[in-house]
């Protein structure tokens, strides 16, 4: 690859990786704002009244990503969060980390919640038991969640008082379809209702993704056209096409790795609990593979340069 080709392809790849990372960060932040404005519930959440044991047992069958919020007795806003797979949940945090799958006896608390310091670790005490504080709720210390506590304690799954909130995509339809509509209510106290953000945001993500995808595909095709003559000359010189292309793909991959570094470094250096280097790497890998796939497709589809033209 000539320096010029590397500059063009690398520059474009860098640009679209930055945009893709920005979109992924946007998505996380937007979800966190939505949760913060609605007591941590998504807009699809439902409230179910009835026997807590029965409801929790039913809701657990709706899939590992189903979040079940059980309000625990007492004056404080202490909720027990039951979820088997918490990876899709972008809790608004300003410190620490979210719950891990299967984590027990852990707490995420708001800034106004008193905690006990023991051996450099913070603990929250509830009903005679202590929970290690692993994160701080809310986008900042001043937040609608400053007085909220979230526990992860399967042992208290059935201790709920009052309605239980079941939250997942299509929660209402899924729950009613399986268990009937008795005691099930849609919730509607979310701040997002005040504006059309719930309509605009997914559209924005879709359009942004379309721009990035079109850009990545274009970059791959451009790389194919820039390398076309070189491939052909090498072929005429007796090299087999596949190894030549494989070599170019390797070089493209190297360029993509270099182009991916800035966004990844920025994500790691930001130190924001909401921005993870891993998720940035994930979207960068997607962009890189779009570039490579479109490069290979274009390289194969292109008519070879007519000899002597």
């Amino acid at each position: 690859m000539s320096g010029r080709t590397v500059a063009i392809v690398g520059g474009l790849t860098l640009l679209f990786m930055l945009l893709a990372s920005a979109l992924s960060v946007y998505n996380t932040q937007q979800e966190a704002i939505t949760l913060e404005g609605n007591k941590l519930y998504s807009t699809a959440s439902i409230r179910v009244t009835g026997d807590p044991r029965e409801i929790v047992r039913k809701a657990r069958t709706l899939g590992p990503e189903t979040r079940i919020y059980v309000q625990l007795p007492g004056e404080a806003r202490v909720r027990n969060l039951l979820v088997d797979d918490p990876t899709g949940l972008n809790l608004p945090l300003h410190e620490g980390r979210p719950f891990r799958a299967g984590e027990e006896k852990a707490a995420i608390v708001g800034a106004a919640i008193p905690v006990v310091d023991r051996d450099g670790r913070e603990y929250f005490e509830y009903d005679g038991e202590i929970y290690e504080v692993i994160g701080r709720l809310g986008a900042g210390p001043d937040s609608l969640l400053a007085a909220d506590v979230l526990l992860s304690d399967p042992a208290r799954a059935f201790d709920g008082s009052g309605p239980i909130v079941v939250d997942r995509v299509d929660a209402y339809a899924r729950y009613v379809e399986n268990f009937g509509s008795q005691g099930v209510a849609r919730m509607n106290e979310d701040t997002n209702r005040r504006t059309n953000i719930d309509f605009v945001s997914p559209l924005l993500l879709g359009l942004g993704t379309a721009i990035v995808t079109a850009g990545a595909v274009f970059t791959g095709m451009l790389a194919a056209s820039l390398l076309q003559r070189r491939h052909h000359v090498l072929h005429l010189l007796g090299h087999r096409r596949l190894p030549v292309q494989a070599r170019s793909v390797g070089q493209l991959g190297l360029v993509a790795v270099m182009a991916g570094l800035p966004a990844f470094a920025a994500a790691v250096l930001a130190g924001d609990p909401m921005v993870s280097g891993a998720s940035v790497l994930g979207v960068e890998a997607l962009v890189a593979s779009a570039v490579v796939v479109s490069f290979l497709t274009a390289a194969h589809l292109r008519r070879p340069v007519a000899p002597w033209s």
Binding site: L12, L19, Q29, Q30, L144, N188, T191, L204, A210
Partner: protein, 425 residues
């Protein structure tokens, strides 16, 4: 003819550019429509006038026996009414009287989402037969005074707000408003046969509230009224007939348990002074007042959530704009590289710079038109109408076109300058 050659040779780059531009213009339209919607939400519920200190006024007759005793005396109730009237007429602050007593409605037409128990700790009660043998259902309702209606900027999307001065329960009829979800269930002009604190009431629907109408109630900023029936309080708590003493006894207590919105310049002592004065004048003294710092806290935090969303959306919009601009720049460089031989051939044939530029800009025009057409198609697929959004989308296209035309001309000029310099002409 050159146009056709150029389009055939460079269609891929041109299509990608036009597509990215159209996508960006549609994105900008969306962002502008969201900015507008944010603006509306802020003006409606988070205006500077609503940024007040909030106090809570309650009666101190918590014991049911005291409460019952008190209401047996007409004098007591008249004092209570006079106390309410003086506070309601005060100019220094707004007495926001709101209460959510459900109302049994006869032969109710709506579904369970309007039921008083829906979504609460209780459960949906559904229709039942009342003491006099009628099929009724308890539905969500909110009673409020005009000060509260105005303070929370409630407005109707259909019909008219009630004529507050004419609200009078004594003839058994009252104008009511319905939350936006009632559209299609009841219509303006319908009469709902209800029962309000034991008093049969013909409820004449005068209007339907705007969507997502909300107010601050019992510590909740996001108390939406879409599924509620709104009953206006009478303008004053003065007169009542002897046989309705039970009804008015309960009503006046509901009215006096209110929030007080106090401009931030007024101190707590001044508020307490006003209340003491009203108490002296009226003779009612079983009240207590508490500060509600939670209101201002929620006010600013909910407002900032809305604004954070806007900042986030605008931020990603700016990034996408920059990205598309930079990508277009790359595309232009690549385009010119592919046209280099042709442009220089024309130059050596004696074509002027202007003529060559026009030739190349002609293809660019086709691409601009394609981007505009793509944008039009994209916008026609969107449901929301937003004049500001249309202007913004047009604005971003004009920006892209001018930057792009300037950039292409610049690249071409540089190429020709470079070549002519090298050729020594």
């Amino acid at each position: 003819m050159e146009l056709v050659f150029d389009l055939r040779r460079n269609w891929l780059i041109l299509t990608c550019k036009a597509l990215a531009w159209a996508l960006l213009a549609v994105t900008v339209f969306n962002i502008a429509s969201f900015a507008q919607s944010t603006d509306t939400a802020i003006n409606r519920s988070f205006s500077a006038e609503a940024e007040t200190n909030m106090y809570q006024l309650v009666d101190r007759l918590a014991d049911p026996e005291d409460f019952y005793e008190f209401r047996q005396s007409r004098t007591n109730l008249e004092q209570l009414g006079a106390f309410y009237d003086e506070l309601n007429e005060a100019d220094e602050f707004d007495l926001l009287s709101v209460f959510d007593q459900p109302v049994p409605v006869r032969d109710f037409r709506g579904n369970e989402t309007f039921d008083a128990g829906y979504g609460t700790e209780g459960s949906v009660g559904g229709p039942y037969t009342d003491e006099v043998g009628r099929r009724v259902q308890d539905v969500k309702a909110v009673q409020l005074n005009q000060k509260a209606f105005d303070f929370y900027r409630l407005a109707v999307s259909e019909g008219t707000p009630p004529d507050w001065g004419d609200v009078d329960y004594s003839d058994g009829a009252v104008p009511v408003l319905l939350g936006s979800s009632y559209a299609g269930v009841y219509e303006v002009g319908d009469v709902i046969d209800g029962n309000f604190y034991t008093l049969p009431m013909r409820m004449q629907v005068t209007g339907i509230l705007e969507e997502e109408a909300s107010l601050y109630y019992q510590g909740e900023m996001n108390f939406y009224l879409d599924h509620h029936l709104l009953i206006p309080y009478p303008p004053s708590a003065e007169q009542f007939a002897a046989q309705d003493q039970v009804f008015y006894g309960i009503l006046y207590f509901a009215m006096v348990n209110a929030d007080i919105a106090v401009p931030r310049g007024l101190s707590t002592d001044q508020v307490l002074g006003e209340l003491a004065e009203a108490s002296d004048h009226s003779g009612f003294e079983h009240y207590a007042v508490a500060n509600l710092p939670d209101y201002l806290l929620q006010f600013s935090l909910v407002k900032s959530i809305i604004q954070d969303n806007l900042a986030l959306v605008q931020g990603i919009g700016v990034l996408l704009c920059l990205g598309v601009l930079v990508a277009s720049g790359f595309a232009n460089a690549q385009l010119l590289r592919r046209r280099q031989a042709k442009a220089l051939a024309f130059w050596r044939l004696g074509y002027s710079r202007g003529a060559i530029r026009r030739m190349l800009l002609l293809t660019a025009l086709v691409q601009y038109a394609a981007a505009a057409a793509g944008t039009a198609v994209g916008l026609s697929l969107l449901p929301q109408a937003s004049p500001a959004g249309l202007w913004s989308a047009a604005g971003v296209l004009v920006l892209l076109v001018s930057v792009d035309a300037a950039h292409e001309s610049h690249l071409l000029r540089r190429l020709i300058d470079h070549t002519s310099g090298r050729m020594g002409t």
